[in-house]
């Protein structure tokens, strides 16, 4: 499934202000809970994963992809997106501060692969990436994420 199928506008938040990285993960996780695609405990799962394994979820400068295990409460494969303002440190020296989060809920090893590929394409295209960081409206964001 592609980004458009896994990430409806209801799970996109812009210009989000948070206190710390846990707050950032909770905020993006809340979008998933509120739209019924993960159980409440998945939020704590994502936080526990980052605590246990360190801030490896910050995969590139400014970008975090919080996620946990399928059995931690994923109902359907899904994505949620938040753009932070101001950016927040996750403790990943190479890639802090984080400006955008793509939270992932995966049921298996295949359903989210196409969307991840699309995300990687956006993140490796400097022009698209800059637009994603600086977008001020939902329309601007969906134009980038959905490619339309």
């Amino acid at each position: 499934m592609n980004i458009k199928e896994l990430l409806p506008v209801e799970r996109i938040a812009l210009n989000v202000q948070v206190n710390d990285w846990e707050d950032a993960v909770r905020t993006v996780g809340r979008l998933m809970v509120d739209t019924g695609v993960v159980e409440e405990r998945y939020i704590e799962g994502m936080i526990a994963t980052a605590k246990e394994l360190g801030p490896y979820i910050v995969i590139a400068p400014g970008v975090a992809i919080p996620h946990s295990r399928p059995e931690d409460g994923v109902i359907t494969t899904c994505l949620a997106f938040a753009q932070l303002n101001p950016p927040i440190n996750f403790g990943n020296e190479a890639n802090d501060p984080v400006r955008v989060l793509f939270a992932l809920g995966a049921l298996d090893h295949s359903e989210h692969v196409e969307a991840l590929k699309e995300i990687a394409e956006i993140l490796t295209d400097q022009d698209q990436f800059d637009k994603l960081l600086n977008a001020e409206s939902l329309n601007e964001i969906t134009a980038i994420l959905y490619g339309d």
């Binding site: 994963t49 246990e52 394994l53 360190g54 801030p55 490896y56 979820i57 910050v58 995969i59 590139a60 400068p61 970008v63 992809i65 996620h67 946990s68 295990r69 399928p70 990943n92 190479a94 890639n95 992932l104 995966a106 090893h109 989210h112 692969v113 991840l116 590929k117 995300i119 990687a120 993140l123 490796t124």
Partner: protein, 96 residues
Amino acid sequence: MAKRLKILAVCGMGIGTSMLLKMQLDKVIKNLDIDADVDLADISTARGMAVNADLIVTSNELVDRIGDVTAPIIAVANFMDLDSLTEGVRSALKLD
């Protein structure tokens, strides 16, 4: 014919970050024209799977958790930086 190499992409769960890593590694091996398969592992299964791997690639935040393995390990900070990853693979596999 040279043997097909096994590259192991390791992350915490084997679902998100290692999947992204595999995508990037697939591009790298294509660019370098290497005959290799990229497998996914999570941190708990990585050590066992590492026995048969020619190269291990993981996040710089996880590298200390892999422990003693014989295969070379590449620690990646920026998963989107294909040039650095390509250089890392080239150097670790001694392709020059």
